[in-house]
Symmetry: C2
Subunit: 107 residues, 2 copies
């Protein structure tokens, strides 16, 4: 199953609030992610807000993202999240995720 | 099973060589990692050398690292790798991995 790694940057002033929101992700959002093929999905954050995402998907990063883009709940979630990231104003964070190259894997 | 995320920084001048080495990791090193509890282990790298590691382990990051530290092959591997990273001269990269906080997980 393809593995995806991506990075984003959380604004320093919003790190604690980002943590809090992610302890309470809406059940509807969790269900939509699973249905869109986001499996074994983790987010890791450094003290300075560097955010790393990892997930496994039966499709590709682009296809998994497109499947989420097609849901209403993702539009609502990303609208709330967009202010948390160091990205151009108005951009949606799921469009700003920078995919990383997998350079090594061991099962 | 605990999930671990960590970051390191590869020197810009050595990114291509880092990629090459990781297409040819010694079989003895792969076997040692598995025996030390490093499972589903991936390394992702950005264009500028930011390196993100993800693995799952039945123990903890510290215990998995200690188990590798106890092997001869890891000492040889880390000696070859130490010059690739932006860390203090002489330090071993596996001691400089910065563990990240997991702020979200969805199975």
């Amino acid at each position: 199953m393809p593995r995806v790694g991506f990075v984003l940057k959380v604004k320093a002033s919003l790190i604690e609030e980002y943590r809090r929101r992610h302890r309470e992700v809406w059940p509807e959002m969790l269900a939509a992610l699973g249905e869109a093929g986001w499996h074994n999905y983790s987010l890791f954050m450094s003290d300075d807000g560097l955010l790393f995402g990892y997930f496994e998907t039966p499709v590709s990063f682009d296809a998994a993202r497109a499947a989420m883009d097609a849901t209403d709940v993702n539009a609502r979630w990303q609208a709330e999240m967009s202010s948390f990231f160091e990205i151009p104003p108005g951009a949606h964070p799921d469009q700003m995720m920078v995919p990383l190259e997998e350079v090594f894997h061991l099962d």
